[in-house]
Symmetry: C2
Subunit: 147 residues, 2 copies
């Protein structure tokens, strides 16, 4: 019986590839703006998708609501985010980036773009396409995701 080969196991490969490909970028947003990983992710969703509620962010990002709550609080404290109470439902709060938050988002986007190009240059155009498409496919429906 052939031993199971770790280096064919997708969750393992993905986890390691994620860790290693994220490390350098993480150091940048951490050193430059003191952001945590989840904070960066929330900032990014707000930057890309515009005004939305915490629940919306959770749906788009699949980040747990307690992490979003704390990240939003941190971003708010730093004045990267502004809040608007919903008129018709006082539980809800619309969130968007402040001008300052927008600047941070754009600065980091720029860096991310360069960083991404650097990562992708290892691959042919066709490999890039397959890789990105495959990852996207893996997203929406990870495994059996049911819970």
């Amino acid at each position: 019986m052939p031993a199971f080969d770790l280096t064919e196991f997708l969750p393992y490969l993905l986890t390691r590839a994620a860790e290693e490909s994220s490390a350098d970028f993480a150091r940048i947003y951490k050193d430059r703006y003191g952001l945590l990983r989840t904070e960066w992710r929330v900032l990014f969703h707000l930057g890309q998708l515009g005004e939305m509620t915490a629940t919306d962010i959770g749906q788009a990002s699949k980040i747990h609501k307690t992490k979003i709550s704390r990240s939003v609080a941190a971003l708010y404290r730093r004045r990267y985010v502004v809040k608007t109470q919903s008129a018709k439902d006082r539980r809800r709060e619309f969130l968007k980036l402040s001008a300052q938050g927008q600047r941070v988002f754009l600065d980091l986007s720029d860096i991310a773009k360069t960083y991404n190009a650097h990562l992708l240059q290892e691959f042919s155009a066709q490999e890039q396409r397959v890789l990105i498409e495959s990852l996207r496919k893996l997203l929406g429906q990870g495994g059996a995701q049911g819970r």
Copy 2:
């Protein structure tokens, strides 16, 4: 200026794909054997590569030595791992799976194999090849990895 697109950013895609593709499998090794993520990883390396020291595991897995230390301690407590002191260098300790640890490894390997096949069935043979090869390439040299 076009906004940066998160869904083309490899570290983001990889992180989410890793999280989502790992979740179901994680629940299995957790529920069935009470293993933590890092413990599972260490168990797997020992199962696949045979007797080795903690440092060796660190080199093969890129897991930090403190996490390995704690995981090995946990696996040892559960009698999944046995230790042999090195004769010529008393700092070193050879680790390998016990018969029981081996059984756990094989059981989980089986599940992993099925689980992996399930994940991969989304993809054509060619996509599978490109995906796995790309991830492997991303490994050894994640970004600039230098530290």
